[in-house]
C-alpha cells in the first residue's frame, strides 16, 4: 500500500487529467453527435450522406490512429496551437481527437433511439403542422434521448477508458495510464500494487457512472 500513498501525487495528477479529458470530450462529443444525428435524418440528401460518410470513416479507424493524427498531423505538421502551455496544448489536441471519435458512437446510439420511436409520434407531430426542425427538437429527439440513456452511459464509460490512448506519442497527455507507466519504468515500486491502485481508480470512475446512467434510464424511460 505504501507504493500508492508515496506516489499519491502522480496518482491524483494522472486521474485529474483523465477526468478533465473525459468531461470536456464528452461535452463536445455529445454536441457533435446530436448534430450528426440531425444531419442523418434531415431532408437534405447531401447532409445525410456527409454525416454517414463521417461516421463510417471515423468509426472504423483505430482511436490510436485518430489521436496520432491529432498529435503528429494537426500538432506537429500543421502546427495547430491551442495554448501556450504545452500540457494544455496537447490536452486540447487530444480533446479534438476524442470528441471526433466519440461523436460517432453518440450519433449511432441516438440513431438507434430514433429507430425505437413509434411511427405515430412523428406522424402526429407532422399533422399538427410542425416543421422538420420542430418535429426533431420537440418530439423525436427528446424521446430518442430518453431511450438511449443506457447506451450513452456505456459510450461515456468507453470514453473514460479511451482517454488512456491520449498518452500516445506526439500528444503525451499526463493522464493516469501514462503516470502508471512512468511509475513502472522507474522501477521503484511494486508493479502489481501500482496496477491494482490505478485499476481501482478507473473502477471508481466508471462504476458509479454506470449505476447512475442505469438509474437515470429507468427513471426517464418512455412509457409505451
Amino acid at each position: 500500500m505504501d507504493d500508492i500513498f508515496n506516489n499519491l501525487d502522480s496518482f491524483v495528477d494522472g486521474f485529474s487529467w483523465t477526468i478533465r479529458l473525459t468531461l470536456v470530450s464528452a461535452a463536445f462529443a455529445f454536441a457533435i453527435g446530436v448534430l450528426l444525428t440531425a444531419m442523418r435524418v434531415s431532408p437534405v440528401p447531401l447532409l445525410r450522406a456527409s454525416a454517414t460518410v463521417y461516421v463510417e470513416t471515423i468509426r472504423n479507424t483505430p482511436l490510436t490512429l485518430v489521436l496520432l493524427f491529432c498529435g503528429l498531423g494537426l500538432g506537429n505538421t500543421m502546427q495547430l496551437q491551442f495554448s501556450d502551455r504545452v500540457e494544455w496544448d496537447v490536452f486540447w489536441l487530444a480533446v479534438v481527437g476524442l470528441s471526433a471519435y466519440t461523436a460517432c458512437f453518440v450519433a449511432e446510439s441516438l440513431r438507434a433511439g430514433i429507430n425505437t420511436i413509434p411511427f405515430g409520434q412523428a406522424e402526429a407531430a407532422r399533422s399538427l403542422g410542425l416543421t422538420f426542425g420542430q418535429n426533431l427538437r420537440l418530439i423525436v429527439l427528446p424521446q430518442a434521448l430518453r431511450t438511449v440513456i443506457g447506451p450513452l452511459g456505456s459510450v461515456f464509460i468507453a470514453l473514460t477508458k479511451n482517454t488512456t490512448v491520449a498518452s500516445v506519442a506526439g500528444l503525451g497527455v499526463q493522464e493516469a495510464s501514462r503516470e502508471m507507466r512512468l511509475l513502472f519504468d522507474q522501477g521503484q515500486t511494486d508493479v502489481l500494487v501500482v496496477f491494482i491502485g490505478f485499476a481501482i481508480g478507473f473502477i471508481i470512475l466508471t462504476l458509479p457512472v454506470g449505476y447512475f446512467f442505469g438509474w437515470l434510464s429507468k427513471r426517464l424511460a418512455v412509457a409505451r
Partner: protein, 344 residues
C-alpha cells in the same frame, strides 16, 4: 414500425412541395459550399505546412519496396496478433460466459468478478501491466523455486494477452446474453430427453447462442482489430507503426495517415458487411437475431453501436428496446425443431 425504416425520407418531414424543394436546393448548395470551403481549407493548410500534397510525399506508396519492407509486414503483424487474440478471446469468452451461468456460486461469482474487472479497466493499462509484470514475476518464481527465472514479456505477447482479456470479457457477456436468449423450451426439452447439464449446454444452448450472436461477435472482432493498433504505443511493429516509420522517413505524416486509415476502414467495413449479411440471413430464416445492445449487462458501447449501424429495412426486429428477450420467446422459427410441441 420505426421512423427510419418505414420510409427513409418522409416521416420526419412532408414530401416537399415546390417551395420546400427550392429551400432544400438552397440548403444543398450551402452544404456543398461549406464542404468545399472546409476541404479547401484543409488542402491549403496541408500544403502550406509541410507541403503534404507534393507528389514526392505520395510516391512512396506507389513503390513496391514501401509495401514489402514496411506495410505488408506491419499488416501481417496486425492481422496475426488479431487472429491469435481472437482465438484466445473466443475460448476465454465461452469459458467465462458459461461460468457466469453456472449453478455453483463458487464458479459463478469469481467468473463474474473477472469479467467485470477486465471490462472496467482500460485495455492500454492492461497491456502496460502485462509488459511490466514480467520482471517481478520472474523474481517471485526465482524466490519460490530457487532456480533463476527471467521472464521478458515481448510486445506481441502483451498485446495478445491484453486483447484476449478485454475482448474475451466482452465476448463472455455476449455469449451469456445469447445463451439466456435461447427459449426455455429448448433446454427443458433437452433435459426431458435425459441429457446432462454439460450436454444441454454443448449440444443445444451454445450452438443456438453462437448463431444468434454471430453478428455481435463479428462486430466485437472489429473492435479487437481496431484495438490491436494500441500495440503501437508499446512498440509492437504493427501496421500503424510501419506507417509512422514511413512518415518519419519521408516527412509525409498526412499521406501516411490517410493511406493507413483507408486500409483499416477497408478491413473493418468488410467485416461489418459480413455481420450485416449474417444478421439478414438469420432474420430470413426466422431465427432470433439478437442485438446484444439491449441485453442486460452487455457493454453497449461496443454492442449497441453495431446494432444501430445495421440499417436492414423491415427484416430487422429492432423496434423494441429489448430485442433479445422478445425474439428469444419466439420458438416458431422454421428450423427450431425443439420449438414444436410433440403431436399426440
Amino acid at each position: 414500425m420505426n421512423l427510419l425504416q418505414q420510409s427513409q425520407a418522409s416521416v420526419l418531414f412532408d414530401a416537399p412541395g415546390p417551395k420546400a424543394r427550392a429551400r432544400y436546393t438552397v440548403y444543398s448548395v450551402i452544404t456543398i459550399a461549406a464542404l468545399i470551403a472546409l476541404l479547401a481549407w484543409v488542402v491549403i493548410q496541408f500544403d502550406r505546412r509541410g507541403d503534404q500534397w507534393a507528389a514526392e510525399k505520395w510516391t512512396p506508396f506507389l513503390q513496391p519496396e514501401t509495401w514489402t519492407a514496411f506495410i505488408l509486414p506491419g499488416m501481417a503483424n496486425t492481422l496475426g496478433a488479431a487472429a491469435v487474440a481472437t482465438v484466445f478471446a473466443l475460448v476465454f469468452g465461452v469459458i467465462f460466459g458459461i461460468g457466469r451461468l453456472s449453478d455453483h456460486a463458487w464458479v459463478r461469482v469469481p467468473a463474474g468478478m473477472v469479467v467485470e474487472f477486465f471490462r472496467a479497466i482500460p485495455l492500454l493499462m492492461l497491456i502496460f501491466f502485462t509488459m511490466a509484470i514480467g520482471g517481478p514475476l520472474g523474481q517471485a518464481l526465482t524466490f519460490v523455486f530457487a532456480v533463476p527465472f527471467r521472464i521478458v514479456v515481448d510486445p506481441f505477447t502483451a498485446v495478445v494477452i491484453g486483447l484476449t482479456l478485454y475482448n474475451g470479457s466482452v465476448l463472455a457477456e455476449i455469449f451469456r446474453a445469447g445463451i439466456n436468449a435461447v427459449p426455455k423450451g429448448q433446454s427443458e426439452a433437452a433435459y426431458s430427453l435425459g441429457m446432462r447439464k454439460s450436454q444441454v449446454m454443448r449440444l443445444v444452448l451454445l450452438p443456438q447462442a453462437v448463431t444468434t450472436m454471430m453478428p455481435a461477435i463479428i462486430m466485437q472482432l472489429v473492435v479487437l482489430l481496431k484495438d490491436s493498433a494500441l500495440g503501437y504505443i508499446v512498440a509492437f511493429p504493427e501496421m500503424l507503426r510501419a506507417f509512422t516509420l514511413i512518415a518519419t522517413g519521408e516527412q509525409n505524416v498526412i499521406p501516411a495517415a490517410m493511406v493507413c486509415a483507408v486500409i483499416y476502414i477497408a478491413i473493418n467495413l468488410s467485416l461489418t458487411r459480413l455481420a450485416i449479411w449474417l444478421e439478414r440471413r438469420n432474420a430470413r430464416r426466422g431465427r432470433a437475431t439478437a442485438h446484444v445492445g439491449a441485453a442486460p449487462g452487455v457493454d453497449a458501447a461496443v454492442a449497441a453501436v453495431p446494432a444501430a449501424s445495421v440499417p436492414t429495412p423491415s427484416v430487422q426486429p429492432d423496434d423494441t428496446p429489448e430485442p433479445v428477450d422478445r425474439d428469444g420467446t419466439d420458438p416458431a422459427g422454421p428450423d427450431a425443431p425443439g420449438g414444436g410441441r410433440p403431436a399426440g
